[in-house]
């Protein structure tokens, strides 16, 4: 192969480097990714960005995964100069998820954090303008969460909280448009 492909740094290697500089920042280290302590997220991210070895100047992407008991915020960091990529996860509380914002470190995180906030409800502390990105400002709930369909209030989808809609008229099940005439 003439071109070496991107090296995926194992999480243990990242944890080693990170743990040496910031003890207590790493909660767990796996082969694929490293899990950070939420409290020291910002410091750890700042370290990884400016560290000459990890050199994570490029935030490839960030997203979030609802793990039922917690919400993982996933960051893929990369170094373009060294051509490696690694994955960092931060667990957040499932009911009131909140982690530190990395938008002051990477401009590219501003919109992505708003997206995660919008769809998963993770509040990023320190974000300059944390408002909904895609959905309507008064939209109830955060649709990418696994419990979105069972919002408080007993409604299936939460759509009944929209104005002008009677309770019980909206549901998760499919109904034909003219259900009145022929359908049972």
């Amino acid at each position: 192969m003439p071109h070496p492909a991107t090296v995926t740094l194992p999480g243990t290697a990242v944890a080693e480097r990170l743990g040496a500089a910031l003890p207590g920042a790493v909660r767990e280290a796996f082969a694929e990714h490293v899990v950070l302590e939420p409290a020291s997220l910002f410091a750890a991210m700042a370290f990884m960005r400016d560290d000459p070895e990890l050199d994570a100047k490029y935030l490839v992407q960030m997203c979030s995964v609802d793990m039922i008991t917690r919400i993982d915020v996933v960051y893929h960091l990369a170094s373009l100069a060294r051509n490696h990529i690694f994955e960092v996860k931060v667990p957040a509380d499932h009911e009131r998820p909140a982690v530190a914002s990395v938008a002051p470190l990477w401009i590219g995180a501003t919109l992505q954090e708003r997206e995660v906030y919008d769809l998963m409800g993770v509040a990023f502390e320190g974000h300059p303008e944390l408002t909904r990105l895609f959905l309507w400002d008064k939209f109830p709930g955060h649709p990418l969460r696994k419990d979105f369909m069972s919002l408080p209030g007993g409604q299936k989808s939460g759509l009944s909280q929209f104005p002008k809609q009677a309770p019980g008229q909206t549901g998760g099940e499919f109904r034909p448009r003219d259900a009145g005439a022929g359908a049972p």
């Binding site: 400016d50 100069a81 051509n83 002051p104 501003t110 300059p128 303008e129």
Partner: protein, 428 residues
């Protein structure tokens, strides 16, 4: 009376060489029938005016088709081709559609101004045509202040655009109308200055006189005044809101600009008036620079007004061509162009012509000797000035090579350890 009128028309229908013969015959008829002097005058005036308005109406309709077909061909597509043979009925279809459309008028718009603006936009373009000679003895109003009349009328159109845009109470229209005024105050100067040389050579501002000068001296003024032609063409395309300078409507930036709120027939008027104004400017250029109805020996064979209309459409094609080819300037670039190139060039042109005419008058050499020298001299000067300006004053694009660099492997420069952090730029 009516019978006699019919006879005159049927007897003279073949006389297409000079339509003024027809008009003269009718005038004679009125005066022979004992009509008072004012009636003769009114009849002749109305006839001429009716003729011009008919031309304008036909032009406005034909030009919709011409412009769309020609630009379509330039853009490697067909253009309108469904209504009628080769789409000839497209203007009619457009007109019917526009008439039938519901007229929307924003509640917050100033109703009087909103309605008056498209009408006021159409009037000057037609009124200017009063002073242009359509053929030998075929000028409706042979004004001695013809050129000044043209300036006075043509700047009115910009004011109509301004009041229409400002009266719409729309922000895009506001931007558009403000741009129109900026362009008006800037481009009026090169326009006015560039025609000074023509007035000096011809010794008159009468458009008949200018055509006669070209006929007498056996040349088109574009040869003698190439710089003035370039300046006038560019400035008038700015005044017309045509593409290199269509900042007032700039549909990719301000979504239509001054006419964004217009619909139905009022929009149709804007649309038609744009084409009429374009033909009017072409008519002025054809008269001043291209010899009007005169074309060496050709006008003895072909009727002068036909030659004239042919020239008008040739210039109009130039306008379509620039429209189909060029992108748009930014407003500051356009205005800087006018102030920093066109105005000084027009001044230089005036001085040049002043010197030339002085030599002509003082030495008393014959025009046959002097004018060819002037032609060569002026063309060389125009070329030299354009090249010099491009070299000296134009932005130096050579600062950066045009071609990108090529890499066959990835190569990321080492950046400083701490990248610039700009938090909160979104919510300043």
């Amino acid at each position: 009376m009516t019978g006699a009128l019919l006879t005159i028309i049927t007897d003279n229908w073949w006389d297409i060489r000079d339509l003024s013969n027809l008009s003269g015959a009718i005038r004679d008829l009125v005066s022979d029938a004992g009509g008072p002097g004012w009636l003769v005058y009114v009849v002749a005036g109305l006839l001429g005016a009716a003729g011009i308005v008919t031309f304008v109406g036909v032009t406005a309709i034909i030009n919709i088709w011409i412009e769309r077909r020609v630009v379509g061909r330039m853009q490697s597509r067909l253009g309108p081709n469904r209504p009628g043979p080769v789409g000839l009925l497209q203007p009619l279809a457009d007109a019917i559609k526009l008439m039938q459309k519901e007229v929307l008028q924003p509640k917050l718009a100033d109703a009087l101004v909103f309605t008056a603006a498209p009408i006021a936009f159409t009037v000057p373009g037609i009124a200017v045509l009063a002073v242009v000679p359509w053929g030998r003895n075929m000028t409706l109003a042979s004004l001695d202040a013809g050129i000044v009349f043209i300036f006075a009328m043509s700047s009115l159109a910009a004011l109509a655009v301004f009041i229409g845009g400002y009266g719409s109470n729309n922000k895009y229209a506001l931007f558009g109308s403000m741009r129109v005024i900026a362009m008006l105050v800037t481009y009026e100067i090169p326009i006015v200055m560039s025609l000074l040389g023509i007035a000096m050579f011809a010794g008159t501002m009468n458009l008949d006189g200018i055509v006669r000068f070209q006929e007498d001296h056996w040349l088109f003024l574009i040869m003698l005044q190439p710089l003035a032609f370039v300046i006038y063409f560019m400035s008038s395309s700015a005044e017309l809101n045509r593409t290199p300078a269509d900042l007032a409507e700039a549909e990719s930036e301000i979504a239509g600009g001054y006419h964004v709120e217009y619909s139905g027939m009022k929009f149709g008027l804007y649309y038609a008036a744009e084409l009429i104004n374009c033909v009017t400017v072409s008519a002025i250029i054809a008269t001043l620079f291209l010899g009007g109805w005169w074309a060496y020996k050709l006008d003895e064979i072909v009727p002068g007004w036909m030659i004239y209309i042919g020239k008008v459409y040739a210039v109009y094609f130039l306008f379509i061509w620039t429209r189909g080819t060029l992108p748009r300037f930014r407003i500051d670039q356009l205005l800087a162009f006018a102030w920093k190139w066109m105005t000084p060039m027009a001044l230089v042109n005036v001085l040049m012509v002043a010197a030339e005419v002085l030599i002509w008058e003082e030495t008393g050499w014959s025009a046959g000797v002097l004018l060819p020298i002037y032609v060569v001299l002026n063309n060389a000067l125009a070329l030299a000035l354009i090249v010099a300006w491009v070299r000296v004053f134009a932005p130096r694009f050579e600062r950066f090579p045009d071609r990108p660099r090529f890499y066959s492997t990835i190569d990321v420069p080492s950046l400083p350890a701490v990248a610039p952090v700009q938090p909160g730029t979104q919510s300043q």
